[in-house]
């Protein structure tokens, strides 16, 4: 893989070496990562269930997204930072790990799905914002989101079982 040289350089940087060599640093970063992912998945499912028309039906979909998504984003940023730090500490091996690569693809899918929803699927949200029946594009986006994030958790576990 052409990127191996870049990844090799990355894992030799002082920060990356500090994480990989320190027995306590990696577990702490990893624990924060797990907590962050747990909160991303948990909060996004509140939104997804609303878009599916399954829960929080007494709340406007738009208001719900406004209220919940800031926490989802905050948690995601923490997950991304901690994930990047862990990746850096053993970049070449992670880059060649099937589950890590799969997890990145899934994250891309989640991002794409979100973009498509906010650009297209959200459609005329003013019309269906407070109805309990949500339009099918919103339902599809929500279902895809849930499935992708469940897979992210599964693949994340897969990394744990196949890395050391």
């Amino acid at each position: 893989m052409e990127f191996d040289r870049a990844f090799g350089w990355l894992q030799a940087t002082p920060v990356a070496k500090a994480i990989s060599e320190n027995e306590i640093l990696f577990p702490w970063i990893e624990s924060v990562h797990v907590l962050a992912i747990v909160l991303v998945v948990g909060t996004i499912s509140i939104v997804d269930l609303r878009l599916l028309g399954v829960a929080s039906l007494d709340r406007s979909a738009r208001r719900l997204m406004q209220d919940v998504l800031p926490f989802t984003w905050g948690a995601f940023v923490v997950a991304a930072i901690t994930g990047s730090l862990m990746f850096a500490s053993d970049a070449v091996n992670y880059a060649h790990n099937f589950f890590f690569r799969g997890k990145l693809v899934l994250l891309l899918l989640a991002g794409l799905n979100m973009a498509v929803f906010h650009l297209i699927g959200v459609g005329n949200i003013a019309h269906w914002d407070v109805t309990q029946q949500t339009p099918w594009p919103a339902k599809v986006a929500a279902a895809v989101s849930l499935l992708v994030w469940i897979a992210v958790v599964a693949f994340g576990r897969g990394i744990g079982f196949t890395m050391h």
Partner: protein
């Protein structure tokens, strides 16, 4: 830990390890990772629901909704997924008894879990005693904030301890 206790714990672990169910779980490579994934997803529901309640107690989330509505929306999602957590947890304990039961991180996790459930139960108890508990502007503010902060710290610690089981195995 007293010698009698650790000897009994050892004996229990050995006994579980030799049961057909444990052997079957150990022999089937996909069981533990799958069960762990379900366990994590259930934790996501519990922890996020507890977080929403705690953020409301702090007046940061859904401050415009009555506490009653937040409790009724999220409390069931703190308690019911516990069934899934106990079931998946049981499978993991049966499949790897020593890795869990003799593990200090696991033991700490269980202590923290009991505490977190007591704190959650307490907030429900306060609610029943005082119908305005949690409503912003109602006294005592310190109790509201304390319960929210302690709850968030406990659930975070539980998740940390869960991850650390692997490091003490």
């Amino acid at each position: 830990m007293s010698p009698v206790f650790s000897k009994s714990l050892n004996a229990i672990c050995v006994w579980i390890d030799q049961t057909p169910l444990s052997q079957a779980i150990q022999a089937t490579s996909w069981v533990v990772p799958t069960v762990q994934t379900v366990h994590i997803l259930a934790i996501a529901v519990v922890a996020s629901s507890a977080l929403m309640i705690d953020l409301r107690l702090l007046g940061i989330f859904w401050a415009d909704r009555p506490m009653k509505a937040v409790f009724s929306r999220f409390l069931p999602l703190v308690w019911w997924p516990l069934l899934i957590l106990f079931a998946t947890g049981a499978i993991m304990i049966i499949g790897e008894p020593a890795r869990s039961l003799k593990n200090p991180a696991f033991q700490l996790k269980m202590l923290l879990l009991i505490t977190a459930l007591i704190v959650t139960g307490l907030s429900q108890f306060f609610r029943r005693q005082d119908g305005t508990f949690g409503d912003l502007g109602s006294a005592p503010r310190l109790l509201r904030v304390a319960i929210a902060v302690v709850s968030m710290l406990l659930w975070s610690a539980i998740i940390f301890a869960g991850r650390w089981i692997a490091y003490y195995a």
